[in-house]
């Protein structure tokens, strides 16, 4: 047993990438959705184990891959939510097959794409080469485009098209920024591959041409910011969340947005290490604040439940970007914590929403009434999730939002006013919607649904525990990473 652990730890980085990739090839050949769904979850679990072994053994950075204290947090979160979502996906997909929304061929494609997506996200997080990181994010974008359009309905194709066009523009701008970073690096570190290796770049950051770096960061922030879903570049996000299969909504909100944010943070570090460059923080804080307030008001007018929570993701990514923009150990700590809590809570909400939409046969908020009466477990699960995401104690998001607000008061008191207004606006909208959906007389028809409650319960428990008691080693780890982020 210990030998097996040693072996996994010694090869963890290779395994994190190889397992999803090999599984996707296998899934493409396998008929039968039961086996595929199990294989999907099993392989995601093995990837999670490999990711956890990063804590035991951290390999030295190579010229393509890198494991440092910053990306371990992202990778573990990524593989964890990837695994729980695959468990949820198994029961979700079984129902979709039953009612004939998906065919077995489409399912085979779906499972293979799911693993490719995990592979691409892990690669983007592990990449030490900014070109490789760009390629991985592009791959993740393309796979999610295909998954969003998988139902092939009018709306799904529209959403996939919109996502594809906006995502590609974002990705293209990010590539231009990447090229500019290379051009800034070339006079300092010489021609060739070194100019794209992040560890080399950060080592020479102070010597890079600040003007070029500034220009590069604008493009990178706009490009990857589109993928983070920051306003005003968020237009793809609600459609993509609402029209695709719900497991994909969970992965999009919980993970892909974080992956893009990780890319932005890497370049923020690069700029912060250069004395002549502009401060990247205010730009990020502004975009974050705009996203928060905009999404907060947009929450009121939603008529579709998945769209509602998609706007809530924009709101929360805004809070996270704002926290990292404010900077300093406390705000960065709050940003990291908030990102983790948001990923867990939002995917839990989508787990509940997915089964609810299947049981009621609709996503329209107006047709969803009295869920706690008609489907007690799912209904109360949703209530707990919404209470958590709205930032009420005792859940973890309360704590991270509290930290964001208090660190803002400490560093930029004036900015705390719009921040608090945005938080309250979003809070009000969510509570208003929750009341209608969860309580009162059940409406419309509803059919029984075989739901998997385990992923939902696990996520909510984790968020609850984090809200009551954060283990000191985790706090120490986050504090350490927060200091790295400046």
């Amino acid at each position: 047993m210990s030998e097996a652990i040693d072996w996994i730890a010694a090869n963890n980085v290779a395994l994190i990438l190889a397992i999803p990739f090999a599984t996707s090839l296998l899934l493409l050949c396998l008929p039968g959705y039961r086996l595929s769904a199990r294989l999907n979850a099993g392989s995601a679990f093995l990837t999670l184990l490999s990711a956890l072994s990063l804590f035991i053994h951290k390999p030295a950075p190579g010229s393509y891959l890198l494991v440092d204290d910053l990306n371990i947090v992202f990778i573990v979160l990524n593989t964890l939510v990837g695994f729980t979502t695959s468990v949820f996906s198994a029961s979700y997909i079984a129902h979709e097959l039953e009612i004939g929304r998906l065919t077995t061929v489409q399912l085979r494609f779906y499972h293979a794409m799911y693993q490719i997506l995990l592979f691409a996200m892990n690669l983007a997080l592990l990449a030490n080469n900014i070109g490789l990181m760009w390629v991985a994010i592009e791959l993740a974008t393309l796979t999610t485009v295909l998954m969003v359009g998988i139902y092939q309905t009018h709306e799904a194709l529209e959403a996939a098209w919109k996502y594809f066009i906006l995502g590609s523009v974002g990705i293209a701008l990010a590539l231009f920024g990447t090229i500019l970073v290379y051009m800034a690096a070339r006079p300092v570190v010489g021609e060739g591959p070194d100019g794209m290796i992040w560890t080399v770049l950060i080592g020479h950051a102070a010597a890079l041409d600040p003007a070029l770096l500034n220009l590069a960061f604008v493009f990178l922030l706009l490009g990857y910011g589109t993928k983070v879903g920051l306003a005003p570049l968020h237009a793809w996000l609600p459609d993509a969340h609402a029209e695709g299969p719900t497991p994909i909504s969970a992965v999009l909100s919980g993970l892909l947005l974080n992956v893009a944010l990780h890319a932005v943070l890497r370049f923020k570090l690069l700029l912060a290490a250069n004395p002549g460059a502009i401060a990247p923080g205010p730009l990020m804080a502004t975009m974050g604040l705009v996203s928060l307030i905009f999404a907060g008001f947009m929450l009121y007018r939603r008529r579709d439940i998945k769209r509602l929570f998609a706007y809530s993701s924009i709101e929360h990514m805004g809070i996270i970007a704002f926290a990292f923009g404010i900077g300093g150990p406390l705000a960065n700590f709050a940003g990291l914590l908030h990102m983790t809590m948001h990923s867990l809570t939002k995917s839990a909400i989508f787990f509940a929403v997915g089964h609810i939409a299947q049981a009621k046969g609709t996503q329209k908020l107006a047709d969803l009434r009295g869920l706690t009466v008609s489907h007690p477990l799912l209904g109360w699960g949703l209530v707990a999730g919404v209470v958590a995401i709205a930032g009420m104690p005792p859940f973890g998001i309360f704590m991270s939002e509290f930290l964001v607000v208090s660190s803002t008061f400490a560093r930029q008191p004036l900015l705390a006013i719009p921040l608090v207004i945005g938080l309250l606006v979003a809070f009000g909208a969510l509570m208003l919607r929750l009341q209608g959906v969860a309580f009162g007389e059940p409406s419309g028809h509803s059919e029984p649904v075989k739901a998997s409650y385990l992923p939902l319960a696990t996520h909510l428990m984790l968020v609850l525990i984090a809200g009551i008691y954060l283990p000191p080693p985790l706090v120490a780890w986050f504090q350490h990473v927060a200091r790295l982020l400046h």
């Binding site: 295909l146 098209w161 701008l173 051009m183 591959p193 070029l212 220009l215 939603r302």
Partner: protein
């Protein structure tokens, strides 16, 4: 590097910007595709010149891909698709041509001012190429914003990518990203052509994105 090499490189990069401007005032889809194919030819020439000047043989591959895929395969495929599917032959614009052209000129001026100011220390070839490349990128973006048909948006996106390739090849010694970005542009084009346009045609009466806008109204 001698002055002659500079002049040729600037001439080719400048032509790319001019062709990007030409894309903006095409009002028929077939003409638009022809101009795009021409832009791809100019890009291929420009990349091969960079390959020759920099002594970087792998860039010839990039040039060949640009020539074969973007100048021949994709335009031919799109031409056939327009004929077979009976797509509207006109380019529908959200903004009239005159205003678009003025906006385009402003973008070119903006990118030249920005890049030349920012890169005062960098090599001459790199900085002027970069200014042209940024112009092409921004013009492609402008085209995507101001066109309503799916096909012309795809053309806008591909011309934007041409600008990226110009920038990447102008950055001397840039590793492996050139090939990969080209491979991805091929993949992107395949996805667009194979899946989206075909299925959009299957489901909608036209590929006009105007029809797609009703999503927002219906769904809120």
């Amino acid at each position: 590097m001698d002055k002659f090499a500079f002049d040729i490189a600037h001439f080719l990069a400048g032509s790319l910007v001019l062709v990007s401007l030409m894309l903006l005032y095409q009002d028929r889809l077939s003409a638009l595709l022809n101009v795009f194919a021409f832009q791809a030819v100019v890009l291929a020439l420009s990349v091969s010149w960079q390959a020759y000047v920099q002594g970087a043989p792998h860039l010839y591959l990039t040039a060949a891909i640009a020539l074969i895929v973007k100048a021949i395969v994709i335009p031919v495929a799109l031409h056939r698709m327009i004929r077979r599917l009976g797509i509207h032959r006109e380019v529908e614009t959200a903004l009239n041509v005159g205003t678009t052209m003025l906006a385009g000129l402003a973008l070119v001026a903006l990118s030249i001012v920005v890049v030349l100011r920012v890169t005062a220390d960098a090599g001459t070839l790199a900085r002027e190429d970069l200014a042209f490349a940024l112009s092409v990128v921004l013009l492609g973006l402008l085209m995507m914003v101001t066109r309503r048909n799916a096909v012309s948006q795809v053309v806008g996106f591909m011309s934007l990518e041409n600008g990226l390739i110009l920038a990447a090849t102008g950055a001397k010694g840039m590793p492996f990203v050139v090939e990969i970005s080209v491979a991805f542009s091929v993949l992107v084009a395949f996805i667009v052509i194979g899946i989206f346009l075909f299925r959009i045609r299957e489901r909608f009466d036209t590929v006009d994105l105007q029809a797609l806008d009703d999503l927002r109204e219906r769904r809120g």
